[in-house]
């Protein structure tokens, strides 16, 4: 909300430095988002007339001669294309300091002396127009020096101004400060000048007064009875006839205030309505009485599909939401406005209007909020009603409207008709406030008197009930105050948040990550150490992304969003793969040799009977590696898995070849299996899937149900003694049938080697010349050692025999 300081001074004598006053607003929660200083920097800016414009050879800028009321015209170089002889312009004289500390000095431009500057609106902070100089309206016919003739505002009745007149004086610009305040939703009172002034005056301890309007005798005609059919939507409604009005422009003081507050002056009656709303927070709406059938109002909920054309010219359809829309109707029951949101076009005030029916009412805040949201139509009125306008402030606002309309539009007002349903009016009930609770919740040491002193200026009525207990009745303009804590917040605000002593509670518990959380961190660190970069891909993907990844996306196989903001983010991910494949493709497209990524995140497959209606949400780890040269294939993925498994001390996780894993390469994929239960996969993305994501190289993948990690078998953390005796190696090479996995050979060797075997390691895979058909050569190194002796040749020979026999008998393998 834009708040001119001059307007606030109607209610309290603010004489603080404007920046300091801004800090007071901040401290009260009315956050200053900007301070505009009007009329600043106009000290040596005067009105001048361009006499002559001549080009400067070879330059875009031109030489002008400008009469600024001196004995001789000034030579000024001007770059604006729109400058022309005869124009009235704003001239910054030498020594002027324009807004932004822009000092005007005598300087040479393209070889020509320039003795000032002809200003654009932007340079004077009077507008955004920087395209050219500001050309002023009005014709100067007074003499060109001061003291003779009467300078007046440009565009005034005689339209005269003496050249050399200070620009601010000529334009009627008065110095002012305009605050841009962000008002919180729990401060309905602060949506008005009076409310801001009340709060700030209370904080500063200065007097605040919101004088009632002058009592105008109500000699005009009375309003006809109004039928309010929806008391729950409109508990209070008033109608007032203002007859004999003359519609015309507002006086300049009113127009200026509206302009400073960010509203465009339209005509006196509309401007008065806006003025009263800005001053007191109560929206009103004047209708042209003669355009209202039956010269009256009705108030009711909209019927389904009912339409009304609002003041902005748009046709609005109503009554289609889950909650009712409140309408203002005429005597024929035809909608003429949307209650609390915007009036209708059919009864708009125009130049021919001579009689007005003024609506001023209290509309239920949530109903206005829902209607406004449904229509995507926010107005100054709806914003105020949503937050809760003072239900008891209507008559005062109407009186203020009548006063101004009488003075400025010649209105003759009739008596105000009031329709009210007291059961629906939101009254403030007294709230029990305990001093001990205030201090306990805030950490302060206030006494009863302190609390009363803080609450009184903001009109919370406090009545002692017992020592340390009081009944506090919030003012009717604070519909937000409902419970003790609300009052405590007011006490805290006016006491000052910054005056509450800082304390730090020290919990008795030990702060620590859980084992699961520690493991998650360590997995991240291990993977980063293995050269993988962590990705965080979106929780939502585009329709078709799962299918492209080779995953089921048929009806019911994924969860979709009800009302997504974009199609690209409308399907909840059931796998991390689509997002990671996109990230891999993105990085490879940036000419990186490698994209090695992982993500630890939740997936959301559709509900199972156990989880419904929740999705089957699980935390997964997915790793995707790709190299432009194809090196990051299934084997590389397996290496990453082995590195991870070793770091996590996993054991007995089997790699079981799988040809039917969706989206994966049918001959380069294995299931990660523990006791026959699949906890993930390792392998390579199906080349067709990679291609569908725009990846023309192999993509290795590891995928692990991260939550399963806790259940996986781990290597014992008990120490195994290390032998002090020499060890001996035996190398064995076998021809092994192709389908037999190397892991099987190793398992047999480990079993056969017994306690003396320290380790067995595959060190060569041979498929060169001499290899028997459909076999391959696997060479293992076996290291034997005993804890208590050096092994004898005979022992070693025996171990060797056992290993060979075991492999040859258990597997389709022969010693090479």
């Amino acid at each position: 909300m834009l708040v001119p300081l001059s307007w606030l001074r109607d209610f309290a004598a603010f004489d603080l430095d404007p920046t300091e006053l801004g800090r007071v607003f901040d401290s009260l929660g009315m956050v200053v988002e900007g301070i505009q200083r009007i009329g600043e920097g106009l000290d040596r800016v005067v009105v001048g007339r361009v006499l002559d414009v001549t080009p400067i050879e070879g330059a875009r800028v031109r030489r002008t001669l400008v009469d600024i009321g001196g004995a001789e015209p000034e030579q000024i170089v001007c770059g604006a294309d729109n400058v022309g002889a005869g124009q009235l312009v704003a001239v910054a004289r030498l020594g002027a300091v324009l807004p932004g500390d822009f000092v005007i000095e005598r300087r040479k431009v393209r070889g020509v002396w320039s003795n000032g500057m002809i200003c654009s609106a932007r340079e004077l902070r009077l507008g955004e127009d920087a395209a050219g100089i500001m050309v002023l309206a009005g014709v100067p016919n007074g003499p060109s020096n001061h003291g003779e003739g009467e300078p007046g505002p440009l565009g005034g009745e005689d339209g005269t101004v003496a050249l050399g007149t200070p620009f601010a004086l000529a334009m009627g610009i008065e110095a002012d400060v305009v605050y841009d305040l962000a008002i919180e939703t729990n401060r309905p009172d602060a949506n008005s000048m009076a409310g801001v002034a009340r709060d700030a005056a209370a904080k500063l301890g200065i007097a605040f007064a919101l004088p009632p309007a002058r009592d105008v005798e109500r000699t005009g005609p009375a309003a006809r009875p109004v039928a309010v059919e929806a008391p729950e939507l409109c508990p209070r409604f008033t109608a007032t006839v203002l007859d004999g009005v003359r519609v015309g422009p507002s006086p300049s003081w009113l127009a200026r205030r509206l302009t400073l507050a960010g509203m465009r002056p339209i005509s006196n009656l509309v401007d008065i309505s806006n003025y009263v709303m800005l001053e007191r927070g109560q929206p009103t709406h004047p209708y042209d009485l003669d355009k209202l059938a039956g010269r009256t109002f009705g108030v009711r909920a909209a019927r389904p599909g009912e339409t009304v054309v609002t003041l902005d010219g748009a046709e609005r359809r109503l009554g289609l939401g889950a909650s009712p829309d409140c309408l203002i109707c005429d005597g024929d029951d035809v909608a003429v406005g949307i209650a609390g949101v915007m009036g209708g076009a059919s009864s708009e005030i125009d130049d021919a209007t001579t009689a007005v029916l003024l609506e001023a009412a209290h509309f239920e805040r949530y109903a206005v909020a829902r209607t406004s949201k449904r229509l995507a139509l926010r107005s100054e009125a709806s914003a105020r009603f949503e937050r809760g306008v003072d239900p008891l402030g209507i008559e005062a606002a109407v009186a203020r409207f009548v006063e101004l309309a009488t003075d400025l539009a010649g209105a003759e007002a009739g008596p105000t008709l009031v329709v009210e349903y007291s059961g629906h009016i939101p009254y403030r009930r007294p709230i029990t406030v305990r001093t001990a609770k205030v201090n306990a919740l805030l950490g302060t040491h206030l006494d009863d008197g302190d609390i009363d002193r803080l609450l009184a200026p903001i009109e919370y009525l406090s009545r002692p009930v017992a020592p340390g207990v009081r009944e506090v009745t919030p003012p009717s303009f604070r519909l937000d105050s409902e419970i003790e804590e609300d009052v405590i917040e007011e006490v805290a605000r006016h006491h000052g948040y910054d005056r509450i002593p800082l304390t730090v509670p020290r919990p008795a518990q030990v702060g620590r990550l859980t084992a699961y959380q520690r493991e998650r961190r360590s997995v991240r660190d291990v993977l980063a150490g293995l050269g993988l970069t962590e990705a965080l891909t979106g929780l939502l993907v585009a329709p078709g992304d799962h299918e492209r990844a080779g995953l089921d996306e048929s009806d019911g196989a994924v969860v979709t969003a009800t009302d997504p903001s974009a199609k690209e983010e409308s399907v909840l991910r059931a796998s991390l793969r689509p997002g990671l494949l996109k990230a891999v493709a993105f990085n490879l497209s940036k000419r990186l040799d490698e994209a090695r990524l992982f993500e630890l995140g939740h997936t959301f497959p559709p509900p199972t009977p156990d989880t419904a209606p929740r999705p089957d949400e699980h935390e997964w780890l997915t790793i995707a590696v790709a190299a432009a040269n194809g090196a990051a294939d299934a084997r590389e993925a397996t290496r990453v898995w082995l590195g991870l498994a070793d770091a996590l001390r996993l054991e007995d996780v089997d790699l079981v070849a799988r040809g039917d894993e969706p989206g994966m390469h049918p001959t380069r994929t294995a299931a990660l299996s523990v006791d026959g239960r699949q906890v993930g996969v390792v392998g390579e993305i199906d080349p067709a899937v990679a291609a569908a994501f725009g990846i023309d190289t192999r993509v290795g993948v590891v995928e692990l149900l991260f939550e399963a990690l806790a259940e996986l078998p781990r290597r014992s953390d008990e120490q195994k003694p290390i032998s002090r005796y020499p060890s001996s190696d035996i190398d064995l090479a076998f021809w092994v049938d192709e389908p037999v996995p190397a892991a099987a050979v190793e398992h047999v060797l480990v079993a056969a080697g017994g306690d003396l075997l320290e380790w067995a390691r595959l060190f060569d895979v041979y498929q060169g010349p001499g290899t028997p058909d459909r076999r391959r050569g696997l060479a293992y190194r076996l290291r034997f050692v005993a804890l208590d002796r050096t092994l004898t040749d005979a022992e070693l020979a025996g171990a060797r025999r056992r290993c060979i026999d075991a492999v040859e008998s258990a597997l389709a393998a022969t010693l090479r």
């Binding site: 605000r493 970069t533 962590e534 965080l536 969003a561 990230a583 209606p613 929740r614």
Partner: protein, 348 residues
Amino acid sequence: MAGVLSDLDSVAKEGQVAVDGAATVDELRVVEAEFVGKKGRIGGLNRLLGNPSLTVDDRRAAGAAIQAVRDELIARVEQRRAALASAERQARLGSERLDLTEVTLDRPRGHLHLVNQARNALEDVFIGMGYVVAEGPEVETDWYSFEALNFPVGHPARDGFDTLYLNLGEPGTMLLRPHTSPVQIRVMQAQAPPIYAVMPGRTYRKDTPDARHNPNFQQIEGLAVDRGISFGDLAGTIDAFTRAYFGADIGSRLRPASFPFTEPSAEFEVACVICHGAGCRTCSGTGWIELGGCGMVHPNVLRAGGLDPEEYSGFAFGFGIDRLAQMHHNIADMRVLNDNDIRFARQF
């Protein structure tokens, strides 16, 4: 006698020439064996001492002479050996020369996502203050996300969240959580006070991505519920946190605000991390940067968590981790955090 000595002399001379002439340690070993070895030529001269024509004195003198020559030659060999070994070592080391600036990292380490790096650091600060880290599901119910947090159905403050609802269960009941606050309720339901927990995690809002907004982002919240928790505790905890996380001179301040789930409520600001409070472009000249919201847990929220507001009180605070990382690393456009661009990740 003279024969022996002249033989000795010539062997000594030959030996000296041979030792000096040995070009390698191996050659020297051969020379050594030839002259001073057990069966070497100097040793051979000793046999001449058995000549009966020699007197005892002669024999003693000749023996001493032979020994002197032998000692001298051995010393010469050792000297030569040292010289040769040194030269050979120099040559070998010379040939092993490496230009270490030719070496490149074959496999650069990977990087954690910048937002998770910030999340870890934040968690660590609060762990140090005695907090635990609590988590919850990312798909939530409307009840946990709003109703339990004192946003009744139809409450206008819900609009600010741009919540994404899902086609699950009854319409309008399941959603992607727009904040991590549902975890507050879950923690209160799961354990009796005292509760001191932070709740980081992923959240989603239907924001249009721009330089300062991502639909996907992470938040962290804090919740303390105990007997006698006060607003002063909240202010002190936030100040202790900002000084621990940003630096000892980065304090905080609270100013009144409004949120449905807290009363009283506050926005908290930290001293600008760029100018340390002096005023700069980042903080719009104010010296302060708005970080998040906080307040005393609303009694309705305590009740939703199964707690009696007359017995317990609590504070809560929350803020966006992405925004914090943006501020910390001077990131002009937040969308880069969602690109998963390795070139970006490598910088941190």
